[in-house]
Symmetry: C2
Subunit: 530 residues, 2 copies
Amino acid sequence: MNLPLTPVRFLRYAEQQYPRNTAVVCGGDRYNYTQFAARVARLAGALRESGVKPGDRVALLTGNCHRLLEAYYGVVEAGAVLLPLNTRLAAGELAYILNDSGTKLLFFQSQFMGTVDSFRGELRALESYYLLDAQPEASWIAPLNYDAMLERASPCRPEITSFDENALAELFYTSGTSANPKGVMLTHRNIYLHALNTALSHKPEAAGVELHTIPLFHANGWGVAHFLTLLGGKHVMVPKFDPAEIFLLIERERANFCSLVPAMATALVNCPERTKHDLTSLKRVTIGGAAASPTLIREVEEKLNCECFSGYGLTETAPSLSLAALKPGLNPQGEARFAALASSGYAMPGCELRVVDENDRDVPRDGRAVGEVVARSDGVMQGYWGQPESTAEAMRGGWFHTGDMATWNEDGYLLVVDRKKDMILSGGENISSLEVEKAMLAHPAVLELAVIPVPDRRWGEVPKALVVLKPGATATEAELLEFCRSRLSHYKCPQSVEFLDALPRTGTGKVLKRELRKKYWKDRNSMRPE
Amino acid sequence: MNLPLTPVRFLRYAEQQYPRNTAVVCGGDRYNYTQFAARVARLAGALRESGVKPGDRVALLTGNCHRLLEAYYGVVEAGAVLLPLNTRLAAGELAYILNDSGTKLLFFQSQFMGTVDSFRGELRALESYYLLDAQPEASWIAPLNYDAMLERASPCRPEITSFDENALAELFYTSGTSANPKGVMLTHRNIYLHALNTALSHKPEAAGVELHTIPLFHANGWGVAHFLTLLGGKHVMVPKFDPAEIFLLIERERANFCSLVPAMATALVNCPERTKHDLTSLKRVTIGGAAASPTLIREVEEKLNCECFSGYGLTETAPSLSLAALKPGLNPQGEARFAALASSGYAMPGCELRVVDENDRDVPRDGRAVGEVVARSDGVMQGYWGQPESTAEAMRGGWFHTGDMATWNEDGYLLVVDRKKDMILSGGENISSLEVEKAMLAHPAVLELAVIPVPDRRWGEVPKALVVLKPGATATEAELLEFCRSRLSHYKCPQSVEFLDALPRTGTGKVLKRELRKKYWKDRNSMRPE
């Protein structure tokens, strides 16, 4: 018997086995699994009644909210494809994504009305606009908002066997630091198996409580969501990250787990409100999205009194590939232990990871040799939306090429050191721009910086630092170069410094190194700046 | 990316992530995952070199032994189909299965040499006989035994992507109380997903230690084996069940988990050796294969000082469907708690269970109405080998019909009360033969008994007890009937008793009620005795 592997089954199971468990808490709203599943079925019905056909793309522009979680199931249950939009994107990026995906129906929070209004004239396929959280007042917005739509709709619950596990379920756009955003196609099967794999590596207890600190439109936010539903757990929505509010929610909802980016974790351990709350329910904090430092892991362990480790994944891999929990049998002590917990971790069940050279041969597992991370797992996307060539390039040899450069060691632990396109190849040595940035960032006058490769007659390319100083602070080029040389191997140190007022960034805050590189490479025949 | 779901991946993962963990302990033999995987690869190579082709059936006739676990992976890795034989079957049954399956190659332990020799002349497809554990001395046995074969073979490790997840991986024969044994076809995908589903419901920790108390050729024995490998756990083989030996092994290997049939659990809690051993490593005992009593669950909890609950499944479902652990949110106390833990449990993740009437409509979830258990899960077999009609009948309406009769309650817990074909329908009331047997078995003179339906002009059919008395004990029919009436509703009580010297049983010890019924139904037009 081959039952289709679809995330719809997760909700059906929770509804059958945990009908009275609280499914979701969002501000003052609270639904158990019977109520939540009923809302999801009505959303699916409403979409069908609105003319949404199987395979149509339905987008949501919203912060964390129970309605986004409902869409995780209801849009897919209607046979449509869910496209969660990052609320931090600029209007032009949003319009690009909606056009590229051919999205037909858009739900959005009222706070984004002006943004949507500004680009809706450019949207070619979009037919209907629905407000999620307010009464519509403009004529281009559908007269019924989301909740009113649900009230009027008939529930739609297709037989599980009617789903095609290889059909598209979700479309997420990458942030596009080097080109236009690309749509990552995830099938029902990708999502289903990814959830099972993630669950296995999290040693889940049934009916746990997850605080959704990271938005559910972000890869880092949806690693846990689906298996939490399967196990009848409670989703606690965090609409906006505020440390004091987080502590209140942990205490009130007896939260067990949350995922954080490093900046969030830093904010939590440094927030004085912490000691006023009962945080004893907290069992585990995972840190992803960017490299965590061993110091940060230690601080979370000590101050939040829970297990803490890092993880690694990409939008293209649904997302989790590895977790940096300690393997049974390994027992590092002190600094080595925190270094392991802060690394990129080892492959989860269902995932295979390798670190390879430019010919796709494994680099030595010595914790020093750097290569590209390639992955094979059930969560790896079907491909990039409408981009068969990019897909073939990324999937060459049957392995997904992550574009991340890393070391790996004998125990199978990876450490991502840089994006491939940001690495600097100088005199045959690979230099991680991140490592150099981290060293120079320790200088008290430096607010932020980017280290990029610039052409060099002798070494091919050498590192250059583009630095933004703190307001009122001063530092000379010579001083910063000397500072670096006292902390890094000589070949890794920038040969020059340039001072800027600000760094160019994407809508999600990533530094656009490609833009920075252009100026220095424009008269060259080199491949840079990609 | 669709990676084939095959159990071969479990071993590859363990080899990659847990190379130095102990994989298997069997008597004095002990292999870590590197060594174990190397032996498996050599087994696969040896099979290929012996002329085994993809899809060929390879059978093993052996008690629990590391070589049987190697075959779990090596036979499948060679693209062949594993057929583990139950060592308790009679020669005629073994010959029937080997012929029905068209098995080409048989491995067997030397203790079964006489048995195999007795029927080998009847086997039509069998080409090669290999000894597992001794030097061959007969000319019909291959000159190299299993270990010698492995030593000479080249390792074979096909690319994971070369497997077809819907290909047959294992063929297990049901015990056949009502007809010839049927071959249950399990695909790579069945086994893979069943393992993940089981793992989720067991809240597994990586690198646990499982005592394989139940033979790995038995459905009840392989629920845990595959996910234990995935998580780098240690398989501890128990060649023969002996309570004192079990306690020694738990202490020596620091075992965490084991599955038991009720008779094994009873033997363990009553064994005086228990108190002489350190059993603190034991975390969980699951009881399956037959109904556990609440009293037994309590005794295991108290005397072995670990979690204990029941479970339910069939060969056709790979096998686990449900576990009787307490759902979060349920908190029954005292007797109600032990009754829940001793029930057939609620559906595992990935499984749907219903209890239905003869028209496949749900019976009330009131804990009283009895119907047939039907199941939909990723573990449900592809079908019965060479029996498309039996397969279609069992799978009608897209649900596997288990042939087990049960109640279910509001919380989703099932309680299997009887096999469908052993239920007695008297005056419109369903009577569980098991319930009546249990009541009469409490009489001190009764050694064993079977309760069967016999024709009755007024009620259609009524229960009759076929009783074997203990040696030297005496009891009259009237006395036994009165004993029952003091303990059961009147309509459930047998109307007559007949005394026998012994009950007819299958090779695996199940009572052949069909045989017993024949005598009473031979002149009737009824469907009995099936």
